[in-house]
Symmetry: C2
């Protein structure tokens, strides 16, 4: 018998065998989860998806996002069987069983969880922290629509995993944007790591939830090839499809069934017995005689035609031209403008110049000024509503599909998506993050709205290079010109970046044509022989300039540096201070772990360190009606800066506790 | 006419008037959102809730969690009208209109968003970052059940806010734990900040979603007092109640209706006109003649009897006793044990000694060893499944109700809840976080599972004191004894704490009776005249001891410090180095922003800084089959540590780029 169902069963069993062997070889991994997906993956990759194993990143191909990343051995097995192209850009090869058996080796691209950046272009995003894949799929689907490619994006989600709220954020997003190309497949194998999943995640509840969230739902036996294929071929232009697949964890291997087998590879000594169980399953299904000739009947449909090449991007207009064009901004005095308004102007300018630029925002586009772009390019603006986690992962999906995806919300609310930001960076996504309303000058709204811990977190990632030597760049511009130009630089940067924009208007500091390297700084007040060097970013550069004027009257010469970028090129700044025996005072409107740490670390590592003191936020702020009230409360007012700087200049070593 | 409905309308209008006046006085705030809640709040606080304005923290009273924190002026208005007790512990006073008019002032407890720690005990948690309140309510309900108090916990949630996935995580949790005392009230006023809410958040979809998530649902007119009261009085022992209230943003003031009025106070010059509109509304409803006598008929039902006092806690058993009692641990060699196993033992011991100790875990209790507690105290263990955000906020609710709430999962997955952790800390919640499987030695599973940015984030919070002078303590124990004793110390600490536990077994370093102050450190290798001081925490203390032995053979004297706590008492460590002209090498298995920053900042701030170099994770890790492979990959193997230390000892200033 060589009916299609039998061929698919036989293939599924073959893939299961490979997945088991690979995890045993690796000594870790999740073979039982992999087995629960074996039919779903087989039908997807050999029957339903339109794609090309030799060209897995083909822009016309359907995509598969494995949200439950730990199940990856079953995908690796299929990629091995199909000889999917792997390896670094420009040096691809067909994946072999040898590659598969390097699973989780330090030198291997066959990582423990999916990760495209290590040389596995079949994947679009790193997964493994649960609940993020459907958002990535949504982003890929948005990109496909923009490109006019009729792609379908399949996403495999664990039942236990569907407890993560982000899954439902993604469902809402798919419904809002009528992403009919998205197919969410829930792998209902009933078992989590430590126990059975809750009844809240059983197939009936999941189907009811998906329907309530606007999806078309299909409930199937996830080990019935015909039922799977039937369900997956349902297409709907306007609604996402949710396939609720009832599966068996450890399918085909009775001894691996039930609780207690999560994340445990088969021991080498037990391997042959387990493979015999799979043989028994093949016998039971009557598929032992399926061979290469039968498998050859499985023909993979090719990708759709790739999108027509986009119009070549041109250089975006300058700050001055954008200002002239923007009625709201032009009506403001050109001498004072908020960096967030500059963000809106720059984003719109980028959008004019390059079709690949897209933007997302979380119901604050009128505060972040993403609406400037949304109005100019409504087709490339994706309103993500109040769901930051989905927004960031969807942006990672858009970026994976070649878009230059900007994401904006209050900096504080990006914290909701720190996990998603880290996963995007792990996967090599070149996302462009913009956090507005940063720091304590937000004042009246209080600490629940103030980004203060974002610098420490993002600086940590900024010092961790990815496989291609890139890392996150963190930018806090001090005026609208630098904000505008840095947004352009972020778009041009082949890596992830985060720009922080304060709410208030700031005086223009720079000439329109001033260039801002992504890792640069500017000396904005140079004095002959500084007794103290004030280093700051954002609006605090202006505070430091004011403090320096106060200091001058007190006979203390102070230089001021606009350290707008992290990582910082600290060497020359330290050298400037050392040259005249000056101390450095880092002034920052955030919790520890930012500019002060950056300079202190660079200094302390020297044979003869320069004194670096730091003035930052050392207490939880609260509401105050005026920015000045809260600045005073946390110790960052101009007089407080001047006092700390003077004390440091006159007697270094005492100023460090100025605002503790 | 003095029927109840009219009285409630009149009261609602009075509260609306106060909320409008307060936000105008403050010059910021969200009066229109407040107005959409005016009837719901009136019926809740004057009719349905059992509580005592003079004793808002009464342990027998029903609770109200305002998830959409920005609507708080309407609650403040009610608290003003009722003279709710405010002010610091031990110095409460009845809230007056004078207090209300200090809304958002720097010296006022009437903050921009709800915050109990500033002196507003009516609240249980800080809210304002959206989507967290229902989880807090769930935690409060769990605590009430443990205390045997028939409390109801009401939670007001915005329709736009319900887009946050955490709301649905909380719904699942309520269903799982049959929290019939929880009442989720969705305020469907149809308007977000920048636009109308999505149809995915309209009242019909919300009702369908809540039902699919297992709640009993009621749909009402949110401005009909009788309908509100009828719905809110429905009690169900086993299922949460979801009340879908259709409301009007800017209710009662036609000129504030429709889009464009979010977060905008009425300008002083427009105030009288707006108040006239409210008068018109009162006239239209025929309630202009309702007066004090009528309002006096609104009697608030008193709280339930407070729970019987708990058995007095006794001292938990010692590490040795716990080890002897724990079969799994005892079967392991007592000379080597993982800190996470010590966590389980300590948690169970704490549970035996103190009924207030509770625990939550996110489907990894068999990995974190929270299961040791879960088995010993099943009634006090709350399985949170794979939904970390809800878990942390629910723990904040439990903590607010007086429980000592431990939360555990992989350290990497706590990152999913960084926003919730910060909100818990802002609100003064004494949550106890435990993150296991930290750092790169997790190896095979790869970076999606490795906590590496957690140190930078939590250290930032650890340096920010709250209104009571407390802050987060971050602990990374180097053996099972210190892990056990630090867990006990965390439980005793009147503030938030985070303990990081590596997966692997570690040799026992300390005697069972060694004491571990929460801000201490230990010199574990003392040498006469160190040429280098190695500072580390966790398993790296052992690596440093090995490296020191290697260094000794090379003629380099190295001291080793177990710097298990952040913030660190860095002074004596710097002094130890300075004493012999030694340099310090901080060795840490995390991204920048941890121990290296802590020591560098302390050193650089000195007049004559000590050289501090840092060896940490400066590239994104990937899978490796053995811990050694990944340690080598990131530059943290023992030979690499020894080489960096030797270079530093012989020629400080060159070792700093050792693993960049």
């Amino acid at each position: 018998m060589t009916d299609l169902t039998s061929v698919l069963h036989a293939k599924a069993i073959d893939l299961g065998r490979l997945a088991i062997r690979a995890t045993t070889e690796a000594g870790s991994g999740h073979p039982t989860t992999a087995l629960s997906l074996t039919h779903l993956v087989t039908v997807l990759m050999y029957r339903v998806m339109r794609w090309a194993p030799a060209d897995p990143a083909n822009p016309g191909s359907d995509r598969l996002v494995l949200s439950e990343g730990h199940a990856v051995p079953i995908l690796y097995a299929a990629c091995t069987d199909l000889g999917v192209a792997i390896g670094p850009d420009g040096n691809r090869r067909a994946m072999t069983e040898y590659d598969l058996m390097t699973l989780r080796e330090i030198g291997s691209p066959i990582d423990g969880h999916p990760n495209p950046v290590l040389g596995f272009p079949f994947f679009d995003a790193a997964t493994g922290s649960l609940g993020q894949g459907l958002s990535v799929a949504a982003g890929l689907s948005c990109a496909a629509r923009l490109d006019g490619v009729p792609k379908r994006i399949f996403c495999l989600i664990g039942d236990g995993e569907s407890r993560e709220g982000q899954i439902w954020e993604a469902m809402d997003f798919c419904a809002d944007h009528r992403l009919g190309g998205v197919v969410a497949i829930f792998n209902c194998n009933t078992l989590g790591q430590s126990d059975y999943v809750s009844s809240a995640q059983d197939w009936e509840h999941l189907a009811a939830k998906a329907a309530a969230f606007g999806a078309r739902t299909e409930i199937i036996d996830g080990h019935d090839p015909a039922a799977i294929e039937h369900a997956l071929r349902i297409e709907d232009d306007s609604r996402p499809l949710a396939v609720i697949a009832r599966t068996v964890k450890g399918w085909g291997v009775p001894s691996l069934g039930g609780p207690g087998h999560h994340g445990t590879p088969v021991k080498p000594e037990a391997l042959s017995g387990v493979l015999v169980e799979l043989d028994e399953t093949a016998r039971r299904l009557g598929v032992t005689d399926i061979g290469a000739q039968d498998f050859a009947t499985l023909k993979i449909a090719p990708p759709a035609a790739a999108p027509a090449p986009r119009a070549a991007p041109h250089a975006p207009i300058s700050f001055g031209a954008a200002l002239a064009r923007n009625p709201a901004s032009a009506s403001a005095s050109a001498k004072k403008l908020s960096p967030r308004r500059a963000y809106g102007m720059a984003l719109a300018a980028l959008g004019d110049a390059n079709d690949a630029v897209v933007a997302l925002d979380a119901d604050v586009k009128n505060s972040t000024y993403a609406e400037t772009f949304a109005k100019a390019h409504p087709d490339r603006y994706f309103e993500a509503r109040i769901a930051e986690q989905n927004m960031v992962s969807a942006a990672a999906g858009l970026a994976a599909a070649g878009k230059i995806a900007f994401v904006s919300t209050f900096g504080r609310f990006l914290e909701r998506a720190f996990d998603q930001i880290e996963m995007a960076i792990i996967g090599g996504a070149r996302i462009k993050l913009v956090g507005t309303h940063i720091g304590v000058t937000l004042a009246a709204d209080g600490p629940s709205q103030m980004a203060l811990a974002d610098v420490a977190f993002t600086r940590a990632l900024a010092h961790a290079k990815d496989a291609r030597g890139r890392s996150l760049v963190v930018l806090t511009p001090s005026d609208a010109v630098s904000a505008f130009n840095l947004i352009l630089a972020m778009a041009a940067y082949d890596g992830p970046a985060y720009l922080r924009a304060v709410r208030g208007d700031l005086p223009i500091l720079y000439r329109e044509d001033e260039s801002f390297p992504l890792r640069g700084y500017k000396v904005v007040r140079s004095v002959e022989a500084p007794a103290v060097v004030l280093a700051a970013s954002g609006y605090l550069v202006h505070s430091c300039l004011e403090a320096a004027a106060v200091l001058e009257q007190r006979g203390v010469a102070a230089a001021v540096v606009d350290a707008y970028a992290l990582p910082l090129d600290a060497g020359p700044i330290l050298e400037m201070a050392r040259h005249t025996g000056a101390a450095i005072l880092a002034v920052e409107d955030n919790y520890v772990g930012g500019l002060g740490s950056e300079l202190a670390e660079a200094s302390a590592a020297l044979v003869a360190p320069v004194t670096v003191a730091s003035l930052g936020v050392r207490r939880l702020p609260k509401s105050g009606r005026a920015a000045a009230d809260v600045l005073d409360y946390v110790g960052l007012s101009v007089p407080q800066i001047a006092t700390a700087a003077e004390r440091l200049a006159r007697s270094p070593g005492e100023a460090t506790t100025a605002n503790r």
